[in-house]
Amino acid sequence: MYADTVVEDKLVHKPKFIALLFVLSFVAFVFFNLTDTIFGHFLMPVIGDPATAGIFGRFAVAFVLAVIFTANIVAIGFLPTRYQVIIVWIELIALFLLFFYTFDLSMEFIQRKVWFMISQGVFTTLYVSAISIAIAFVLAMVGAVAKLSNNGFAFAIASFYTSFFRGLPLLMQVYLIYLGLPQLGWVIDAVPAGVTALSLCYGAYMTEIFRAGIESIPRGQWEASRSMGFKFGLTMRRIILPQAVPVIIPPTGNQFIAMLKDSSLVSVIGVWEIMFLARTLGTKEFKHLEMLITASMLYWMLTMVLEAVQSRIERRYRQKAER
């Protein structure tokens, strides 16, 4: 964020706001009736058996929770920004874990399977996504140049391509390629079929990103380059694309993160990636939720790593641009 030098009174320390916060949270907690949850169990010494605590228990639980909630927010308000971020993150994660805890998951089962999920599932997901994004990158580059050219033939093919692959659900494309190509007498394995579908689909989205990136380079760069006698290809390669790449990199990173999760769709044709393993392993022992949550956590961690990498790359390009 841009630094703001004007200091305002902290909203969370105004009595009116604190009162409002308390009332709203109290009403919300009463409304959701948390007597029968873990919170009710904590308050057993006061309200007795949650099942029979009735309206009194409902209000007592809501009151205690509202007090804790409001006090917590006011307290966090005193901290410097950095610590606020850390504490809020920790609290949200704690709530999240609490939520899972209520499912009564079998940790033993998760521990038994998680290594296989990582060595087989995460590995497959990563390499399928990486190969697909690399192919998509090339497709997008070609597609963008074709869309910007005056060649009607190239433009027609490129625009049909982007329209088709952006217009169909990815799941449909996966099926079409895996089940459709063999009809033409070309049997294709699950992994190549999945990679093909992902690359074609993301290539279509990225074509538009690349086209916008190339078009963001001022017209004068074209004119200067062309007026020096540089041919179209040379102008693209040495003048336009090197300037467009820093513009293209951040949204491409986003696409990669999105693809990582969309790669779960190729589980339907039996690629042994995270989602596929979660479903098959979970079904065998009737522990669906355990495996689904494990898979979710793995996806989440992967994206967090990728986000960190992406912000690094972006910072590098920004430094280069400010040089």
Binding site: E223, A224, R226, S227, M228, G229, F230, K231, Q243
Partner: protein, 257 residues
């Protein structure tokens, strides 16, 4: 050397650029109306005229950044038409300097200057750098060679742009309002560079409203209005005794301040 080069009678060089009956439309709107203009080898022509009169379009027709629709444009004996090879031949002989410099921001000053010789003329790197250095010295900024364009002032950037064009060893230099985007204190350093260049005998065509430069350097001043060449004369006569009323009005507006 062109085949149909004709030594002019009055001691000027042969005709290197000729536009005959050139017209151009943007959709319905006619930007250039039957333009006839000749430029002799070594000659310097300044083009002026009100905004929107078609000056940029005219000068851009000479290296086919714009395509004309009627008439013929010949540059050094090569006719400009849709044929790409012709266009590329002409572009190698014609240098162009833009109002907004258009240096390549991802390349250093040195790389900007060597790009043409390296990529088009396939010159060895050492030789290209030697040439680049020679022209950077000519425009008086050899010490900036390893900076990036964004680190230079506007005036310095425009001088690099001139050096970059000169590295291609052009026969003709085109300038489209090279000083209009500059802060006033930087205008003179660019005009000085252009005057130096004119003194080396370069053939130049320059769109500018810098009347001092026109007086000092131009052999001919051309006045354009609404896509037509209204008047063409030697600078002295042009400024002291303009013939058409349109020219008079324009000059009085420009010279007011």
């Amino acid at each position: 050397m062109s085949e149909n080069a004709v030594e002019a009678q009055d001691g000027r060089g042969d005709v290197i650029v000729s536009m005959q009956g050139v017209s151009k439309w943007f959709g319905e709107f006619q930007v250039l109306k039957d333009i006839n203009l000749e430029l002799h080898r070594g000659e310097k022509i300044v083009i002026c005229g009100p905004s929107g009169s078609g000056k940029s379009t005219l000068i851009r027709c000479l290296n086919r950044l714009e395509a004309h629709q009627q008439g013929t444009v010949m540059v050094d004996g090569i006719e400009l038409h849709d044929h790409m090879s012709n266009v590329e031949m002409v572009r190698r002989e014609v240098g162009m300097v833009f109002q907004s410099f258009n240096l390549f921001p991802h390349l250093t000053v040195m790389e900007n200057c060597t790009s043409g010789p390296l990529w088009v003329h396939k010159m060895p790197k050492a030789e290209a750098e030697e040439i680049a250095m020679k022209f950077l010295e000519r425009v008086k900024i050899p010490e900036q060679a390893h900076k990036y364009p964004m680190q230079l002032s506007g005036g310095q950037q425009q001088r690099v742009a001139i050096a970059r064009s000169l590295c291609m060893n052009p026969k003709i230099m085109l300038f489209d309002e090279p000083t209009s985007a500059l802060d006033p204190e930087m205008v003179s350093e660019v005009l000085d560079t252009m005057t130096d260049l004119a003194n080396t005998g370069m053939t130049m065509m320059c769109v500018t409203h810098e009347m001092g430069f026109a007086r000092a350097v131009a052999d001919q001043v051309v006045f354009m209005d609404e896509g037509e060449i209204v008047e063409r004369n030697e600078p002295n006569a042009f400024f002291t005794a303009p013939k058409s009323t349109r020219t008079k009005t324009f000059l009085s507006q420009i010279l007011q301040h």
